[in-house]
Subunit: 261 residues, 2 copies
């Protein structure tokens, strides 16, 4: 009897027609039975949004050459929830999200729909990885990212890790000769400094476009930002326990008067 | 010369007309100069979404009895960014978000617009607190939550904590007599088990409403979920460094062959 193939859920936040998700499907072809469930329109910057105030639509589409695929009217997180509950009726064996057109290193994980989809899968106990390429262009070269995605998906399938494993993987914009390999990193302490572009509409009312400047405030060199600058793909293992345990102890001591301990 | 009043930014995710934000404004009145910047429509479940694909609108409104207030077309995170960059042109001294109509304990922090607004402020280096009441009703009794909000806002203003301090505060639905006080807690390991409600529209097409059942998988009793069940308000100190440091060490060892270390 043939061994049962692992089920690989592929999703993204750039939308189901983005070149990045096609590149990811190609990269993991042959490693298992693939299903694609992705947003029907771009969902960049959606963070961990879920759709609760309106109903969700799900349509089967035939755009991946024989691979089962659905487009969803909701967010990346909605896609992961629907894939499990409406399409598969069980957990996939792994979830891969991306390949995102643009970086999701450091603090960007918080804003990223690509990473939220991966996190949602991890909350469900599904090993998962989000992939992002540091190239925004629609016609970006995904070949190094595909090689990284293939290697890491194989690795996670062959070596199951503890539940709730989630990896944030970013790939530098490099040629094959300049690519240095992969590195395990910390999330850099960084932020976006907004610069709103204020304009006036034809009826005289103001509106604002959000733009911004990325600022790395981290001085150490074991971060994803530094690894990427040096030409490595960065792998940040991510947790969704947001508790600041050090601060817990501090507050229990410092706030003795106002809290019950 | 009079001492300069601290600037208190008030925001939420239920929208600027929700009773919860009025209750919060009342609760912190007298502790500083208040400005309100909140979404012009409900934004529950928006997670850490930001608006990048469309422009943002910001309108001054006069609905808080002499307090400067703006409604914004974007997400809670957008509100915090606009408050700083377009309205104040400097950081507020503290940001309070809520009072949310409904719980944001345990894993809900990931999906919550209320908590994302607080986290965005913390990323900017502003001490911040999100408040949520375990009562979804529009006419919920916010009086205990207001007392908690007043106490903690005073506490953070008087005792500045390390940068990036962010508290997730949930208040049980209790009467004054049954309320036990406040407790510092861990985020419970919990998840939502979705149950999609499948329907058919008048044109014969399927659609889905997301519903779900909350599942606490945590067996220890130092969590926010347990504290709330016992009648305490839960205070979880929150970090936005999502790196799983333990897993970093493990992967550096286990994956020696495929990574550069």
């Amino acid at each position: 009897m043939a061994e049962k193939q692992p089920v690989i859920l592929v999703t993204n936040d750039d939308g189901i027609t983005a070149p990045g998700i096609r590149a990811l499907v190609e990269a993991v072809k042959g490693l298992g039975k693939i299903i694609v469930v992705a947003p029907d329109s771009p969902q960049s910057g959606m963070g961990h949004a879920v759709t609760i105030g309106e109903p969700l639509r799900l349509h089967k589409v035939d755009i991946f050459d024989g691979i089962d695929a659905w487009e969803c009217s909701g967010t990346p997180v909605d896609c992961v929830k629907l894939a499990r509950d409406i399409i598969l009726h069980h957990k996939p064996d792994i979830c891969v999200s991306g390949i995102n057109h643009g970086a999701n290193h450091s603090i960007n994980i918080i804003y990223s729909g690509t990473m939220s989809a991966a996190m949602e899968a991890a909350i469900e106990g599904v090993p998962s990885i989000g992939f992002s390429l540091l190239d925004y262009r629609y016609d970006a070269d995904f070949s190094i990212a595909q090689q990284v995605a293939n290697t890491l998906t194989k690795q996670l399938l062959a070596n199951p890790m503890p539940e709730h494993t989630l990896l944030n993987v970013n790939i530098p914009k490099r040629t094959k000769d300049d690519f240095k390999g992969m590195k395990i990193c910390r999330q850099a302490n960084a932020k976006w400094q907004e610069e709103f572009d204020q304009r006036t509409d034809p009826r005289g009312k103001d509106y604002y476009w959000m733009t911004g400047k990325f600022i790395n405030m981290d001085e150490r060199d074991d971060t994803d930002v530094v690894a990427l600058q040096e030409g490595y793909a960065s792998i940040v293992p991510v947790s969704f326990d947001l508790t600041d345990h050090k601060m817990m102890n501090k507050l229990n001591k410092d706030w003795e008067g106002i809290i019950v301990s």
